[in-house]
């Protein structure tokens, strides 16, 4: 079987890709996607180690995570919508009325 370290590396890679996306992309939607990527990186770990440890906790929890991710996206889309209404753009770096 594949040793656990590989899964760890894979998930870490995914996590970093997501993080990279967040840091570089300005489009709110892509921002969201990157977040999803990071969450799923976690899911990989959970599932993998759930198998490793031989209990279902991790797998179940990954389901929770997906659900919550969905909810998060729902809220996110809503916010992005009003963002667009107010700033006529979904560039996350645009709204800077409040700073310092």
């Amino acid at each position: 079987m594949v040793p656990a370290e590989y899964y760890l590396l894979l998930s870490a890679a995914m996590f970093c890709i997501g993080l990279f996306g967040i840091l570089t992309r300005r489009n709110a939607l892509i921002f969201l996607m990157s977040v999803e990527l990071m969450l799923n990186a976690a899911n990989i770990n959970l599932v993998a180690f759930s198998y490793q440890w031989g209990n279902l906790t991790g797998q179940v929890f990954s389901l929770f995570t997906m659900a919550l991710a969905a909810a998060e996206v729902a809220i996110g889309i809503g916010i992005i919508l009003v963002l667009y209404r107010n700033f006529a753009d979904i560039d996350v770096t645009k709204p800077t009325t409040m700073r310092w």
């Binding site: 993080l19 967040i22 840091l23 300005r26 996350v92 770096t93 709204p95 800077t96 009325t97 409040m98 700073r99 310092w100």
Partner: protein
Amino acid sequence: MVSAFEFVPAIAVLPLVSFVVALTFGKWMPKKGALAGIFATAGSLLISIWTALTVAGFLGSETAYHEEIWTFATGIGTFDLHLGVFVDPLSSLMLLIVSLISLLVFVFSLGYMNDEDETGLPRYYASLSLFSFSMLAFVFADNILMAFMFFELVGLCSFLLIGFWFREDAPPSAAKKAFLVTRFGDFFFLIGVVGIFATFGTGLFATEAGFPAMAEQAITGEMPGPVSEFLSAVGMGAQQWFTILGLLVLGGVVGKSAQFPLHTWLPDAMEGPTPVSALIHAATMVAAGVYLVARMYGFYLLTPTTMAIIALIGGFTALFAATMGVVKQELKQVLAYSTISQYGYMMLALGSGGYVAAVFHLTTHAVFKALLFLGAGSVIIAMHHNENMWDMGGLKEKMPVTYWTFLSGSLALAGIVPFAGFWSKDEVLYEALIHGLGNPVLLVAWAMGLLAVFLTGFYTFRMVFLTFHGEPRSDTAEDPESVRWNVKLPLGILGVLAATIGFINMVPIKKLTGLKIDFLHKWLVGSETLNAEFLTGLEHYEPILKNVAGIEASYIAGSEITTLLLSAALSLGLALAGVGLAYRLYAVPEPVEHTKKLGGLRTLLMHNYYQDEYQVWLAEGVTLPLARVADTFDQGIIDGVVNGISSVSLFSGDRVRRIQTGVVSNYAALLTIGLALLLIAFGIVGGWF
């Protein structure tokens, strides 16, 4: 029968009452509070007389008295501070003098102030009464702390009275100077007082429990417990430490008695009303210093060094002040310097072991100096407050009473036989001489004192001739304002006294004839109890003087009489010489200033040896700038640091908030960096990699 001693506190309390009365009701009283003062001081005088008689032993048996009347501050596990009364020949004599002079000054003031309808009379009489109160209480103080307290109050009163005419510029500044200079002296005095209490645990002047007695034990007998304790703490020998204490107290004396170098305040003090000058110089403030030394003579006797220093200061001051008196233009200025000089004589006497002589001169001087000042006051009234002698002249005919009394005073001051001054001054010089023969330091002091006799004679009669003789040199002198009984009465009384008071202690006559007429001497020798119990009698002092201070009498050619006559002749001769010179120079119709002949010396004398200059410089040239520097330092550095801290933190705050750029991507980035940093840091710490 009731003893006078129970009423001694009243001597001081009466004037205190009149102070309150004059201050509160003076405005509505007929003589603006003068009467209150007169009655009060009269009462004090009566009780003083009564007390004196009691001390003399005419009434009742006990001839000295000590009572603690008020516990001031209770100490637990340490000494208490209290106020008390101590009456012995010295203090009772002083009480007599003070209350007498005060009374006369009050009377005179009626003429000097009321008749000139000055404003603020209640304030004047209130201060005067407070002055008498403080002085009298000072005189019968039974411990040195109480003495200091009333010593200070005297200073306050001098401030109030010298600055009486506060609406002008000069008097307040003179008052300030008087208080400051004496305060400077009192600073040392207070250290001395505190030191004495710390060392002995008591400030009592008299009795075995008193500090002079303990000090004597410490030096001669076995060391009392507390004293040795403290001495070991400061790590000094008894002799050494007592010398320091004595000198510290002497600081106060020098200040109040206007001895060199703290004499500068006294001439300025002439800014005050003339009766006040009379009071200050004759009997109260200035006398206080000398009196204090006499009061704790038993302590000073223990430290030869101090004695020598006292004598030197005295002798030097006597000469020093006399030289300045020679060139003064104003009547009162001359008198002022003569005062300084005369107190120099007293110090000289005390320093050279002439206890009786000092007290004697104190007494006579009180009389004739009061007389001279009041006389000057009367002249000043006549001259409409012009004091310049060069504007006077020929007042002899216009105001005979003043003239003759003033003359008597002058003769006394100059020390012409048989006037009071002669006897006392002669005794002072005699004592200095006989003790000085075996002691070069004292001899030097004596020489200076002797020299001063000549000058005294000169400036005194220069003053007399310029004022009263020759032709009037101004219109006011032509027809001076006349003075009333309330001026003449005191003058009369004092005039007679000035002529006669010397007879209370005619030592030379006694020595020559063997008549027992040295009353004052007997008086100060005191009773059995005084010497045995209170230890303030002459018989107690003399052995110490001999054994501890090591001051012994020795005579020229071994003969007491020879020495006596020699000294008397010498001083009298010099005095007469001085008078004669004055006569030649100024007893002419049109006298002219001869001071130019002095050349460079003149300017020096005119500027009083630049004493004021350097003292003012010390105050305003050194202290004030120092204060300003301190202020700048405080505002700049110390406060600067405080404000600096705040502004720095606000500035950094303003920088910190810039992190919050408002761009969410940057937030994400910073967040990541932060997390990464934590991971790396703790990874290294935890050794994960």
